[in-house]
Each structure stands twice: as C-alpha cells, then as structure tokens.
Symmetry: C2
Subunit: 142 residues, 2 copies
C-alpha cells in the first residue's frame, strides 16, 4: 500500500484521514486515534464511552457519523458478527475472526491460519467485494 504523494507525514492519524479526503476535525481525530491505536474491535458505544471518560466532548451522533465515514473510506472496517451491534476493526487488511458464542468476544485468527484450496467463481456479472469468515467458538466441555 503506497501513501499518496500529497500525504505529508505530520500527525499520522490526521494525514491518514486527509489521504482519504476526510477533513480531520477534533472529534474525528479522537475517534480515529482511539480505534487505530492498536489492532482491536470496538463498538460505537465503547468508543463513545472511552472518549468521554477521557474528557473528550463528543456526541453519539458524531461517533456514528465518523465511524461510518471511516468505514466507507476504508480507514477502518465494520464487522457484522451478531445482530446486536456493529464492531469496528482497526485492522483493514484481509483477516478473519473467532467469536466466542457465549460472550460475543471477537479475536483475530492467527495470520495465515486459514487457506482456501477452493473458492467459487462469482456469479455472472458479479465480482468479489470481500470475504467474511467467522469461526464460532464455545468452551470445550470437560
């Protein structure tokens, strides 16, 4: 992945937003910086709570707006693994997930731990837009 030339390397997050044509406002920077801080999966609610407890002044609407915008531009990835809520993943590279069915907890599959020896051709006139693989886990009975 190459950085576009117009990308000046000042603040990493800010420039990453600018690169995608996202105006880096205070709230957007806070949301993005929090989520992108490390590989993780967070819900909108978790992000809102974390920002507020760290003293940030952000509204719920802005958190949602921002996360949707970031996901749309490919800065983060939105995951749908259960019907309850959306998870936002700071890792946009191709990777898959475990989910503990009891707790809902998500974790990344180890890199390279999945390999397809066969995948279907897309139906006529269609092309792949992505592959979502979720391995559901339960506690092993003793």
């Amino acid at each position: 992945v190459l950085d576009p030339p117009e990308c000046r390397p000042e603040d990493a997050v800010a420039s990453r937003l600018r690169c995608c044509g996202i105006h880096p406002t205070a709230q957007r920077l806070q949301v993005a910086a929090l989520l992108l801080a490390r590989p993780q999966h967070l819900t909108a609610e978790q992000i809102l709570a974390a920002l507020r407890s760290s003293g940030a002044r952000v509204s719920k609407a802005t958190v949602y707006n921002t996360l949707n915008l970031l996901a749309e531009r490919g800065v983060v990835r939105q995951l749908v693994v259960d019907g309850d809520r959306a998870w936002f993943d700071s890792n946009v590279d191709a990777h898959f997930h475990f989910q503990d069915v009891a707790t809902g907890q998500l974790s990344d599959l180890p890199m390279g731990s999945v390999d397809f020896s066969r995948l279907p051709d897309p139906p006529a006139g269609m092309e792949y837009a992505g592959i979502d693989l979720v391995i559901r886990l339960r506690r092993r009975p003793t």
Copy 2:
C-alpha cells in the same frame, strides 16, 4: 441423519417439529411449513407478511418466538449477514453464502465450491461451534 424412532411419518413438518420436542401448534406449523417448503432465506417480516396474505392468523411476536425456537432446536438456521435484520435459512446443512452488497440478497454457494486447505486450531479450552463464511459480491464494472 437418522430419524428418531418415535418419529411417525405422517405430516412431514409436524413430525419434524415433534422430533425436536416442539409442540406443533397451528402457527408453528404454518411458519415452519412456509420456510421449509424449499431451500430459501427469509426474514421474520417476510414470513409474517406471507402468512398473513395467505389468510393465516399469526402475530409478529409468535413469528419471532417460533423462528427463535426453530433455530434453537436446529430445524432452521439463523443467519447474521448484515446488521439490519436476521435471515432464516431452511437449509441447516453446512453451507456458505453469497451476498449481493447492493441488494442484501443472499444465495447459497454451490455445494463443494469451497474447500479449506488450512484452518486454525481453536484456542485452548475452546472448540468449533460453527463456521460462517459470507462472500460479498458487487456488480462487476463494465
């Protein structure tokens, strides 16, 4: 898959429910018969609408209750492919899905069209509870 011995082959749907310990009431039979009629993916809302337009007397709550019950007992399978709504799949055998990202439409992957040459070991103390694979599709640009 063997039919339990106490399963008399009268009405197929009714006995399938009884086999799972589900009391086959009128509404449950209607919901199950509609969904199980053929391999398909339907939402609760679609099922409710279809039943009502065919003259059935069912409430939304009962449709949800019934679908949850059927899913719990393994008669149907609940799919979570987008955050908007749950889909219920009449096919409970292991299989995967295409989803058209534009329309949300689901379809089954051709049987045997996916093969894993490598899958991760479950984390310590955990075991596989299932694998959900969704291949997102978009219209191919011309």
